[in-house]
């Protein structure tokens, strides 16, 4: 049995062999590679395309995230899943969830937009953030218009590294509005590999933030766990 998470940008496959998690990640357009030789009876799907791929059963990303996060952190209170096209906050304690899929400012798409502007890889943003000596205030709540504010800060003398740090703070502030009261928060999704953004979020939330070893595969793992 496999857990298959086919999301808006990447597809992930998880199986458990001898108690060990085995996974593979690819671009969404290559999702078929992940199910080669696997019958639909052995697939539990999740993610945006959960209904479109072969599956025995499907489960939403929200429920999958809950099961996946529980696997790593039993008793988890709040899960924040920062995806490529949306951000989901799941309040496990109160059995509630909210999704931001209307505004790019608090999603991975925004950081991708900024990386494109600076012509750098997304993965570089965390490293550049760590070199910032000052953090400029970026207030704009619109992801697209934040670029004009970024340019203003560059013209005002802030370095690229500092502006990127400012962007991470703006991003983290945006997400913090969605997060309910809790002692600890579990962050999942591909975006949480960005250390700059995590450090901004830690600073703003002032709460214990837990990140699974492989934050990107949590939903695929959760789908698998859900089936059991």
């Amino acid at each position: 049995m496999i857990g298959l998470d086919v999301g808006s940008t990447t597809a992930k496959r998880v199986k458990i062999e001898d108690g060990e998690i085995k996974f593979e990640i690819t671009g969404t357009h290559n999702w078929k590679d992940l199910v080669e030789g696997i019958g639909k009876e052995d697939i539990i799907s999740t993610g945006y395309f959960r209904h479109s791929v072969p599956h025995k059963a499907s489960v939403t990303e929200i429920t999958a995230a809950r099961f996946g996060a529980e696997y790593y952190f039993p008793g988890v209170e709040v899960i924040v899943d920062i995806g490529g096209q949306d951000t989901k906050v799941i309040d496990v304690k109160k059995n509630n969830f909210i999704i931001n899929d209307k505004c790019s400012a608090g999603t991975g798409a925004f950081l991708e937009f900024v990386a494109n502007y600076f012509k750098i890889e997304l993965t570089e943003m965390g490293r550049l953030h760590s070199k910032a000596k000052r953090i400029p205030q970026i207030n704009n709540t619109c992801g697209v218009f934040a670029v004009s504010e970024m340019i203003s800060q560059l013209v005002a003398g802030y370095s690229k590294e500092e502006v990127i740090a400012g962007i991470h703070y703006a991003f983290a502030r945006r997400i913090s509005f969605m997060i309910p009261e809790a002692e600890t928060i579990v962050l999942i999704g591909g975006t949480v590999k960005n250390e700059g953004m995590i450090s901004a979020l830690r600073d703003i939330l002032n709460k214990e933030i837990l990140i699974p070893e492989e934050p990107q595969i949590v939903n695929a793992l959760g789908a698998l766990e859900y089936s059991e």
């Binding site: 939403t60 929200i62 429920t63 059995n95 509630n96 969830f97 909210i98 899929d101």
Partner: protein, 313 residues
Amino acid sequence: MPKIGITALVPPELIFACGGQPYDVNNVIPESKKYPKNKLCAWTAIWQEMLVKREIKIDSLIVVAGGDCHNALVDGQKAAMSGIPTHFFFYPFDGDHKYMESQLHSLCSFLGDIKHPEKFRQIKELKKAGQLIDKKRVNGKISAGEAFRILVSISDLMGDLDKFKRALDIKTPHLNAGIGVNRIALIGVPPIYHDFHDVAQSLDLQIVFDELPYEFVRHTGADLNEVAKDYCNYTFARPLDFRIGFLQKELEKRKVDGVIHYTQFACHHTLEDEILRQELDYPILTIQGDLPGKTPEQIKLRLEAFREMIARS
């Protein structure tokens, strides 16, 4: 028979009794493909634009300007300024039936006074039959979508009492084959998506309560005085604690498993979400719609996740 546009609940009893044909201008919105200019709430923006362009043909307009939709006050004035004879109607916030009576008298003057008093009783009977439709759907005898389409049309009784009577006679009473086990109350303004109830049902969420359409069917009266005494308790016009008290009783009576609070983009009712969540002791899903059409995939994801959430609670 003059066609009288209404922007929200206005006692149709009185309009018929005064010889008018009520027409709820919201009826055309869910199927509309318009993208209105200068938009806050799509509901009011679309009817406003259509009225000003005379794409909705009415002889005069009654705007519920106090006690319901706040955007309608401005959009109603735009329609009035375009030359449509318009009356502004105000519900009492404190439920004062004397005030309500004075509002109804003033409305009567606008409509040309009561000419057919028998309409009050006829409509009272029709609303009794409408309540049976509501009961049938609570018991799973008809689908939520079918019940909703009838209940929501009670705001203007389809402009024709005979036509409405025929609509009550549902020929397909076995649509409940796929009805799920999750009993849902839908509160707030009605969703702007024309297929919402059917989509919810396909995801095993059986809507057993439609807050606003239930207001349409439960208020009535055999004469102006009775109408005043009954409609002054229209919950959307009253303070929140009054509305919440009413909701708590209905949700308990209907044995709901969860609540969906539909909110409309740029509608002041959205601000009530926090309070409703505090006061109603049920799993609550809040969704927000904007433009009309089919229920979007993002909303379907939320409904599906809500069903999974209820299953665990």
